[in-house]
């Protein structure tokens, strides 16, 4: 079934498979951003590792391994999602597990409110925001990972940010740094609770 590899890795080039452990945490964090569920995220990382391992010859040594791994992970996520069709979003569990620790109480955007809004975004929007806003990827790396043009990354990120702002009632022109907004944020989270 498995064919022996035709070439032995040369000594001077590091086998990319040896580098996989260095990317596990980032893979998991990215998987969490997409799935918002730690069990699903772990399964996704597991599938990604197996696929990466068995397709490692397709990786071009010297290029960005993390971007390559992220690509496998998100492609797996979206293809599983298409197959499953039915989605079972379960943001409650992850909130209960992770949120209680340190909400920002300095008049700024509360972490709670942010998480609720973040969960309501589409995975595509969460993906682009995490890639360009948190993972340290450049727009180019994000574009490579998502297999779209750089311009698409930028416009998708803008739409995602606008969507978040809308959900959080952060309208442009409103000074959210000011103290006036603490009450409206509080009111917002109250009404959100009632609606749920």
């Amino acid at each position: 079934m498995s064919s022996p590899s035709s070439t032995t890795p040369t000594a001077e080039l590091r086998d990319p498979r040896d580098e996989l452990p260095e990317h596990l945490q980032a893979l998991r964090a990215f998987a969490m951003s997409l799935t918002r569920n730690s069990a699903q995220a772990d399964d996704l990382v597991q599938d990604t590792i197996v696929k990466a391992w068995s397709n490692i010859e397709k990786f071009q040594v010297g290029t960005n391994l993390r971007a390559w791994l992220f690509t496998i992970l998100r492609n797996t996520f979206y293809s599983d999602r298409r197959k499953r069709k039915r989605e079972v979003p379960d943001p409650e569990g992850i909130h209960a597990a992770t949120l209680s620790e340190k909400p920002a109480h300095d008049g700024r955007l509360a972490m709670n409110d942010f998480m609720v809004a973040f969960d309501k975004l589409s995975p595509e929007h969460r993906e682009v925001l995490i890639l360009v806003g948190a993972s340290g990827f450049s727009y180019e790396e994000a574009a490579e990972t998502m297999n779209v043009a750089v311009g698409t990354v930028k416009s998708r990120a803008n739409r995602a940010r606008a969507r978040l702002s809308e959900m959080l009632h952060l309208e442009e022109g409103e000074d959210i740094m000011g103290n006036m907004d603490a009450t409206s944020l509080a009111a917002m989270s109250n009404s959100g609770t009632n609606a749920a």
Binding site: A26, D175, I176
Partner: protein, 52 residues
């Protein structure tokens, strides 16, 4: 300050706050311990490869 200045400031501030929160969300997951199952899996894959 003029309204325009306030607008620019708040727009940049919204983006900055969103990014700060995104980083918090991401870092939270990043700082979790990697489950042993992944290290075990890598060891298994490695063993399969080596066992020729």
């Amino acid at each position: 300050m003029t309204n325009d200045m306030a607008d620019d400031k708040s727009k940049a501030s919204i983006k900055e706050q969103i990014n700060q929160n995104l980083k918090r969300v991401y870092d939270q997951a990043l700082n979790e311990d990697v489950p042993d199952r992944f290290k075990d899996l890598l060891a298994q894959l490695r063993a399969k490869e080596g066992g020729k």
